[in-house]
């Protein structure tokens, strides 16, 4: 699954815009990935200028 490092995230929403399935949203001004919708294409990791999204082991 993909997680977002809140310390690195600037909130620019570039990953949200690029996500093909709208799995990422801004909720209370924080960028949040819904892992039920995410299909792990990893485009968010590729486009993030600050390296905030990363792959994480399933909880």
């Amino acid at each position: 699954m993909v997680e977002i490092d809140k310390e690195k995230c600037s909130g620019c929403c570039g990953c949200i815009d690029h996500c093909p399935v709208a799995a990422i949203n801004v909720i209370d001004d924080e960028v949040v990935i819904d892992n039920d919708i995410c299909m792990e294409c990893l485009i968010c990791i590729k486009v993030c200028p600050l390296g905030a999204p990363h792959e994480a082991a399933q909880a």
């Binding site: 570039g14 709208a22 209370d28």
Partner: protein
Amino acid sequence: MRELYDLIIVGAGPAGGMAAKVAGENGLKAALLERKTDIRTIRRICTMIIDVDEENFGDYPTYNRRNKKFVFPHNGFSVKYDGPTRNIYGFHIITPCGNRFQIGDVKKGKAGEQPPVGLMVDKGYWIQIMVDEARTNGVEIFTNTNVNNVRKESDCVVLTDNWGNEYRGKFVIAADGVNSRITRKLGFNKDRVFLGTYKDISRTYEGAEIPDSDALLFCMGWKVSHSIAPELTEGHFHVSGASYNVNDDLDGAIDLFLSSEPYATWFKNASEVGHRSSCVSNIVSPIPLPFKDNVLVVGDATWMQETGNTAAMALGWKAANAVTEALIKGQINKEGVSSYLEWYDKYYYQPRGKRLASSGGADFKDFLPPEDIDYLGSLVPEPLPATMNAYNIFSTIGRAFSALLPRIQEERPDIMQKLMAMRSFPRELALAKRKREGCAIVS
């Protein structure tokens, strides 16, 4: 079922904020949907400058300092702004060894001998003013609302947000920015040319000492593009690194940049403050006809990158007025909003957009090494006439160098050859490179 709005605006930026303000003034039953909760805080890198006192898509916007408002005399509207401003006197290109190619004379500007061409504003505060006016005039503001889908029904447009709520409007204004999801969902992008993915990060420093810094400083000849821009707070500067290659290490590039001269000296007593900001833009050619299924497209959603704050305001203003007209005429269709579409074609698409649609050439840095850029930068030591209008900046550079071609041919035939090779580089190869190094939005 939810109520039916006359107009729903998506995105509380310069274009959407303006459209909402106009919808309120015109008495429409309108809603503004915004994914952020705190509209006041700008999170994405974007320009904080409003171009003034020169032509901008057919208008000549100016700032009325006495009554604290931006005025658009050709179009005939104004926008209140009583926040802080900072004068920007031009656009300078700094070559690797520190030569400056100057458009606008900062020294004269500081001495009061050249008026500013741009005003840096507190953009979040300015947008908040427009949104507050809209709310006062009865526009419903929904924040924390990510619009993820759009569909047309027989009598309305339906927007769906991340919470599963539906919003129904007779018209929709899409002001959802450079990576607009609404235009994508409506199929606009099928006819648009992908020109690259532009990735940008920015850090804020205090305590830097930079000569003639009341301008935008573009630093050429580095692996990625760097720029330095003053902030509203005296002594604070943005330093950015940007590239069309999504794999470039922008952070590492800024570190290297700031440890090289002249920047190392400028920043020797500087320290980083605040949070880093960023942006990633999917660059696609401008939309020829910004209307489909009763959705009007405005601002960066209709363009490729940076219509600019001034133009975004004008687009939002015109679109919301066209919707008002359509509602009064009872024409809930394309004909109803023709005043927006004709105006957009006349002032935006024909003079500028059409050309941008065929843009996308070779990258400068692939053809000219840093020492060649130093040579070119040394050829124009005196400042050229000031402008902040991006199109005029390009034509000013073009004119200056066209006049110098015989001299370059004489002094440096090798550089002349490289310039010619860059010019004749096939566009399809340049676009293929942008595609390979970028990351086009797929849906």
